[in-house]
């Protein structure tokens, strides 16, 4: 186990360096969430006038607080959709072979790619939180809660990574990886990212209730607007774990199939 951790560390370090050494990457990672949040918050700010916004309604800052978790989820989706291609890059240029000829555990190779993804998700979440605060939102749980939100986004990103890794490993094609990852985007909308459950049509409500993303969003939302709602946080962690288990099992199968 400790070897796995050490190997993941060194491979993760390598993958992280590969990411930040391209100036466009850290630049985009910080700028994109800011743009996204700003646009959506201005676009939808009157939505709080709708009845059904209930406890989280009223006042400028609160829609930002309402919106932020969903925005974070969106950015995680983007970060994940890019990550599968990195795996293919190594596959194509022979690096995967070189790594496999060393004693490194196969799964450490996958895990190494998850490290920069985790960090990217946290950075994007951080950018959104900072901008939200600047625009008037408040985080009820202060710094500890903010850190909790960052960790939840990182964990969610790692769990969600399968949606990009599996297409990559099965198609071995960067374009297909990107376009297949996009198929998952509507799932972000079928959640409480933008509107509370009360405003959803019945069929959407059903989807929403089973959507793991909603659990993650609600936990973050609670941390921002209410306090340490351990129930919500617990449900989010279970949702992330379940999601991760399912998606990573498929990912491992695809990886094993490729490296037979």
């Amino acid at each position: 186990m400790t070897t796995f951790a050490a190997e993941t560390w060194y491979l993760g370090l390598r993958a992280w360096r590969r990411f930040y050494r391209v100036p466009a990457n850290p630049f985009s990672i910080v700028l994109y969430p800011l743009i996204q949040l700003f646009v959506f918050s201005q676009l939808f700010k009157d939505i709080v006038q709708l009845p059904g916004f209930g406890a989280s309604g009223g006042g400028d800052g609160s829609y930002l607080a309402y919106l932020a978790p969903g925005q974070i989820t969106f950015t995680v989706f983007f970060a994940v959709s890019w990550s599968g291609s990195n795996l293919l890059y190594d596959y194509r240029n022979g690096m995967l072979d070189k790594l496999r000829a060393t004693p490194v555990g196969r799964y450490a190779i996958l895990a190494g790619e998850l490290v920069p993804l985790f960090i990217e998700c946290m950075i994007m979440a951080g950018a959104i939180l900072v901008l939200s605060l600047l625009l008037g939102a408040r985080i009820e749980t202060g710094i500890p809660g903010a850190i909790g939100i960052l960790l939840l986004s990182g964990a969610f990103g790692v769990a969600w990574a399968g949606t990009s890794f599996v297409p990559a490993l099965l198609t071995k094609n960067e374009q297909a990886t990107g376009t297949l990852s996009i198929l998952f985007f509507p799932i972000a909308f079928m959640s409480t990212a933008f509107v509370p459950v009360a405003l959803m049509p019945d069929w959407l409500r059903v989807v929403n209730d089973w959507n793991p993303i909603t659990f993650v969003i609600e936990a973050m939302r609670a941390l921002m607007t209410v306090g340490f709602d351990w129930g919500a946080i617990g449900r989010a962690l279970v949702a992330i774990a379940a999601l991760g288990l399912v998606l990573h099992s498929i990912t491992l199968w695809a990886f094993r199939r490729l490296t037979a």
Binding site: A6, L11, R14, N93, M95, D97, K98, A101, T102, P103
Partner: protein
């Protein structure tokens, strides 16, 4: 001889009836057996598609064989893959380095993955950088290195953990002549220092110069085995090449004139016992001649008649290409277009 069948010293690499059939049905390796003794430099020589890369990838534990067995350093490559990996270094056909990492970081990563501690790793990395002449460029990103530098870095990364056996898949592929010579010297040096080397190549000169022993491969089978000198001696004939078309661009060859000249020459030389083979080539004719030094004057005398114009002549001792021709009926064409590298997992 160590490693010879029946000896008590186990060979460093032992392969028995190795078979690899790819999912589509291609029999890339069709029953190969050989041994490599400790410290030996073995080469696999053959055209592209012969099964060399597949064989070496099986030995490097990257591919599972369909049949047969292979052992490296006494360990089975399938059952004990992890243990084998600790003892081997592998350099792929295309140079594989992490472009977004520095030279130093590239070497350090492989070292770390082999479980080397910081204290061991740091001096070893510096030693290798020095050996490969990369010390000054060490802190620059590997993506900025020239082709030759990248190859040397790639080779260095296969040596970080001091492997017992080094597997090299077409190590000088695509290199300019100067870098090729430099790399050859490096490989010989590494071998002399005690590392067993197994190399695949389709360059005759490389096989000739570097390898103590060769296994000539075609269509997944070993067709000949022995030292370069032994193999060449087995031909027993030199080659005499006669140019029958005027010098000029290859496209200008008059096919009829050439065919006419070729058959005229063949007729004239009919009956000369020393000539063991006649081969029609794109600009003339190539003869396998026993003792060419003595027979050449007679050859020239016979064809010095009206209607046959010889534009040039050269003589050479047997080459590995001749060996290949003898065993397979074809030549290894070194200028054959490279196949797409299938990263067959």
């Amino acid at each position: 001889m160590t490693g010879a069948p029946g000896s008590s010293v186990p060979a460093t690499v032992e392969v028995e009836d190795l078979v690899k059939v790819y999912p589509g049905g291609t029999r890339a390796v069709d029953g190969i057996s050989f041994r490599v003794a400790h410290g030996e430099f073995l080469g696999f020589l053959g055209p592209n598609g012969a099964g060399k890369t597949t064989t070496i990838r099986i030995l490097a534990t990257l591919l599972r064989p369909t049949g047969g067995r292979a052992r490296v350093a006494g360990l089975d490559v399938v059952a004990n893959a992890a243990a084998v990996r600790r003892r081997i270094g592998f350099a792929t056909q295309t140079v594989t380095i992490d472009q977004m990492a520095t030279g130093r970081e590239n070497l350090a990563l492989i070292g770390r993955l082999h479980g080397m501690s910081g204290a061991e790793l740091r001096p070893r990395v510096e030693e290798l950088l020095e050996l490969m002449g990369l010390t000054e460029a060490a802190r620059k990103l590997a993506g900025t290195y020239s082709g030759g530098m990248r190859r040397r870095l790639d080779l260095a990364s296969a040596l970080v953990h001091r492997p017992e056996v080094l597997f090299l898949d077409e190590p000088t592929e695509g290199l300019d002549p100067q870098s090729r010579l430099a790399l050859w010297d490096e490989l010989i040096r590494i071998n002399r220092a005690g590392t067993t080397m197994v190399l695949t190549t389709h360059y005759m000169e490389e096989a000739d110069r570097l390898c103590e022993r060769l296994a000539i491969i075609d269509h997944g089978k070993i067709v000949a085995e022995g030292s370069p000198a032994e193999l060449k001696r087995s031909i027993g004939a030199d080659s005499v090449t006669l140019r029958l078309v005027p010098p000029g661009p290859a496209g200008d060859v008059d096919a009829d004139a050439l065919a006419g000249a070729q058959s005229a020459v063949s007729q004239r030389l009919h009956g000369l016992a020393a000539i063991t083979e006649v081969e029609h080539i794109s600009d003339g004719i190539r003869l396998a001649v026993r003792g060419a030094d003595e027979v050449a004057p007679e050859i020239l005398r016979r064809i010095d008649v009206d209607g046959v114009r010889v534009y040039g002549m050269s003589m050479a001792g047997p080459t590995l290409d001749d060996v290949f021709l003898k065993h397979t009926g074809r030549r290894i064409r070194a200028e054959e277009a490279d196949q797409v590298i299938s990263m067959g997992w």
